[in-house]
Amino acid sequence: MPEAVLISYVKKKSFFHKLNPLTKLVLAVCAITLSFLLKNFMYNLILFFFIIPFAYEAKLLRQVFKPLRYLFIIFVFLFGIQSFFYPFRETVLVQLPFGFAIWLEGLLYAVDISARLLVIMVYGYLFVLTTHPGDLVSELKERGMPHWLGYVLITTLQLIPRVTSQTEVIIEAQRSRGLETQGSVIKRLKAYTPLLGPLFMGSVQNAVERAMALEARAFRAECDKTRYRDVKFTKQDKLITASSIILSIIYGVVSWLL
């Protein structure tokens, strides 16, 4: 059975893809930090549209906006709740029957938050789309991240699908033995132990076996480890890292001065 690995990395040939993972991480972190520090939502919206040249270069213009679908529900609730019940309300925008009203401050707050969310989501997603997790871990290890942490990050990506399918098997198996997963609340509460118990037991067994296998291969040995993926930090990376930090500081300062 082929091992499924869960990643949203999309392989494309572009300048952006070829950049060092750390460079892209710095870019994303800069944008996300900026989104919290900018003065108002207009600057965040400009930052949001600034993703377009990057995404176009990476040939992922359409994919990069996919998380917006997930944000839509949040926006509905955000505007619904904050424009009616924002605690620091003062100005009535629209008076509605039954004493309800849409408040200007609440609406502005919701717009502020949603502009920030747009920036965070899009830049985070572009990073994930263009960076293979293996490259990222390889680069971080080069920079002094402990060896075991790299192991944990990479193994998790393989283990999640496996644990998930194991859980599906347990659910089916217990159902076929007559476990009731529908019906009254008490009945359903009783179903947790037979479902989770085997999952825990199986995972402990799995952990012990894996640990033995790792130790047999000198996992704890303190020496230089070889790696499969090799990543380079070029001059372009230096230039882009430095300029993205400097530009975001300038942009942040400008937003407060103007």
């Binding site: 869960l6 990643i7 949203s8 996300i32 998380p67 997930y70 949040i74 509905v76 609730f77 955000l78 619904g80 709740i81 904050q82 009616f84 019940f85 605690p87 707050y109 919701a110 502020d112 938050i113 949603s114 969310l117 965070i120 989501m121 985070g124 997603y125 990073f127 994930v128 990222l136 075991w148 192991y151 944990v152 990050l153 998790t156 990506l157 283990l159 999640i160 496996r162 644990v163 998930t164 859980t167 659910i171 997963t181 359903r188 179903a191 947790y192 132990t193 479902l195 989770l196 118990g197 999952l199 825990f200 037991m201 402990v204 952990a207 012990v208 640990a211 130790e215 996992f219 704890r220």
Partner: protein, 212 residues
């Protein structure tokens, strides 16, 4: 009195790095990805049973009871880092602090040996629920303006409409959700499983003996 306290602190500080290091045995390290997997798989069971019990921290709490606070804290935080890496939802990294708090608290309770009787486990679950609600309220306001895009928002809106204070409403709505999850299922089932763990496996984990 004051002198005594500082003395104690320095003593603890010297040992603490050693203690953290000693917690990260190979089995403990291997448990981290598995715990993250369980956290993710919890969602499946949640869907199968359809009760408002999320189970998305159950792997973290299980690890806390087996491997202690530091391993569980790291595992909990990484759960959200990995979700961010897989689905590209950068906001989930911020919520990693909730998992970090839950893992460290559950691990601390285990370390102190407070998870021996069932009522202690229940109280611990309530404590974890309060902590989780407190941290997640702050984060959810900070990152998403207090909204999570689920049924809990209606509860939050209801409290606000009743004229409650902003922070009271958000904390109360979060606590209502957490208490069902943490005090009922997410602490008890891992605890029962560890009690029934065969000896040859339990011996591999440093903290399992504090529970059994």
């Amino acid at each position: 009195m004051v002198k005594k306290k500082t003395k104690k602190k320095t003593k603890a500080k010297k040992g603490i790095i050693e203690r953290i290091k000693s917690e990260f045995t190979t089995v403990a390290i291997v448990m981290i990805p598995i715990a993250i997997g369980i956290n993710q798989a919890g969602r499946l069971i949640h869907q199968a049973l359809g009760l408002p019990i999320w189970l998305d921290t159950i792997g973290t709490i299980f690890t806390a009871m087996l491997c202690g606070p530091w391993v569980a804290g790291v595992g909990g935080f990484l759960t959200n880092v990995v979700t961010a890496l897989i689905y590209g939802r950068a906001t989930s990294v911020f919520f990693g602090t909730v998992q970090l708090g839950i893992g460290m608290l559950a691990g601390y309770f285990t370390y102190k040996g407070w998870f021996k009787k069932w009522w202690q486990v229940f109280l611990g679950g309530v404590g974890i629920a309060v902590t989780a609600a407190a941290i997640s309220s702050v984060i959810v306001v900070f990152v998403r303006g207090g909204v999570s895009g689920a049924g809990i928002d209606l509860v939050f809106g209801f409290f606000l409409a009743m004229g409650q204070n902003f922070w009271t409403s958000i904390f109360a709505s979060r606590f209502l959700v957490e208490i069902l999850d943490k005090a009922v299922i997410a602490v008890f089932v891992p605890w029962l499983s560890i009690k029934r763990l065969p000896d040859r496996y339990a011996r591999m984990f440093k903290y399992a003996s504090k529970i059994r």
